[in-house]
Point group: C2
Chain length 308, copies 2
């Protein structure tokens, strides 16, 4: 086994991921846990990090690069924001060193859009963008990053020009668990109902103002016509994603299509949604993108500086 | 005190209201409680009704007319639906008598829109509509009935032609209590912030597809620019109501404006919203409308038939 050069950490609100990486960028070991920012704020960030570093037998001197909510005001050490228009290269330059630690631990800042009419923030996604787009992509990219709080980003030549957060994932969660519609989806199985999902995406995309009505039809349809809990769940999911796409696609879409940074089930779901609207996507795996972004930043901060 | 002619009951999901009414339509006594359909399904509908009738000293023979969720499948006795296009006069003709009760107790049906593309149901609102519009209004009415599940109704000549339910109130409740935005609104006081509310209504009306983004700005704005919890709450409320209005007002609006059937705080809120969009409203008090609707139906069922 080659020597590790650094550890890369994606520390989100509710998840923690660590990769042990060598100088060539190869992953030597990795860890995953649910000790996200919310959990670590109680048990202590240094202890959580130390336990995972010990588990992969990281040397004492090994530097660690962190992105995500660990850099929030309510996180470990506040890492601030790079303001839009934000060059992705500026993100790694503003990394904040964690004080009082013998080890060199740095946390990457987020990106802020200080526009009074459309204020917005991201933390963690900037690193995914770096991994997906690189420091200096030529041309324009329209990026969709689905999740609890989906981000739609417009970038040009390595600069994040503007972005919007949509609470799509969190809305789906509370609507399907905490409202009257929870009865309509109760007992839904894991099997996909792609036809119901695509129909809901199209209906919501065509009439986004009717979102709160289209959601309710999941219940009315069951009362009047029957229908499975799975179909009702796909209606909720498709409606919320369809409304998001109506907003995200309301501007100019680059000829190459939308860059979709997502993993697993969410990637499949959004590909169905874009497909329903006949919009081309360039898929990028989100897990890989964040790891690559952390590696690019770590290489720029440590590997190269040691080479000099 | 004159003799009571009947008792009128509005039995909703979470509230119970009873009026003791004489032949001239005058209210002799009234009761209010939170023994709605959900509570009464556990303790028993007959017992709840009996206790309130006893409290107003209703005679044993006094007939009772009920509207609302007591007629749902999960209520007391299922009262079915009148299908759209639904003459309001048909509602009282399809009242269902509760079996096994010595007293003449009847439950009014709801209205169903059996349209596969836009299925919808109402139960209770049909009686408010009857009270607000009468059996045979000439001309067209566009009616907004705000609530947990707001209804927008198009009626012409006493016939409900079509309607749409919007989960606006319930969405506001779960979004402000169960999502990350609960932190932004925590500690909001009761004082209204009409300017923030109207600004949010206008923004959402202009760009309804951005609803899930406009909601999130309540948090981003606080992070980047500060701002009170009350302003954040008004942003959530105004965004959700603005999206509802964008849908409700998307068709032809009658020259007289929108008939707004609402009471109390909700009536004030929606009047501000319509005002922000310079839309004329004809306000009708919702409590009065349901009582008047029940009285019209009761008079038609009992008073008049005894007059013959």
């Amino acid at each position: 086994m080659t020597e590790p050069a650094y550890a890369a950490v994606d520390w989100g609100t509710s998840s923690f991921r660590l990769w042990l990486v060598d100088r060539a960028g190869e992953v030597l070991a990795q860890r995953r846990s649910d000790e996200g920012m919310l959990a670590a704020a109680k048990t202590g960030f240094p202890a959580v990090l130390r336990s995972h570093l010990a588990a992969v037998e990281a040397p004492d001197h090994l530097p660690v690069l962190v992105c995500g909510m660990a850099g929030a005001r309510t996180g470990w050490v506040e890492a601030g924001y790079v303001d839009t228009p934000a060059p992705l290269a500026a993100v790694l330059k503003q990394a904040v060193r964690v004080p009082g630690e013998a080890r060199d631990i740095r946390i990457l800042p987020g990106i802020a859009q200080r526009d009074a009419a459309a204020p917005d923030v991201m933390r963690g996604e900037e690193t995914q963008l770096l991994g997906a787009l690189g420091f200096e992509v030529a041309g324009e990219a329209l990026v969709c990053m689905p999740g609890t709080h989906s981000k739609w980003v417009r970038a040009r030549g390595g600069i994040v020009e503007g972005f919007s957060t949509f609470m799509t994932g969190e809305l789906f969660s509370v609507v399907s668990r905490e409202t009257i519609l929870s009865f309509a989806v109760a007992g839904a199985d894991e099997a996909e109902d792609v036809a119901s999902f695509k129909a809901a995406v199209k209906a919501a995309y065509a009439a986004p103002a009717f979102a709160a009505n289209l959601l309710f039809t999941a219940r009315s349809r069951q009362l009047l016509f029957g229908g499975t809990p799975s179909a009702a769940r796909e209606t909720l999911s498709g409606t919320l994603i369809g409304v998001e796409l109506a907003a995200g696609l309301s501007g100019v879409v680059p000829r190459a299509g939308v860059t979709l940074i997502a993993s697993g089930r969410l990637a499949a779901l959004y590909r169905h949604a874009f497909d329903a609207l006949s919009v081309t996507v360039q898929p990028v795996d989100a897990d890989e993108a964040v790891r690559r972004g952390l590696s690019m930043a770590a290489a720029a901060i440590w590997t190269k500086s040691r080479d000099l």
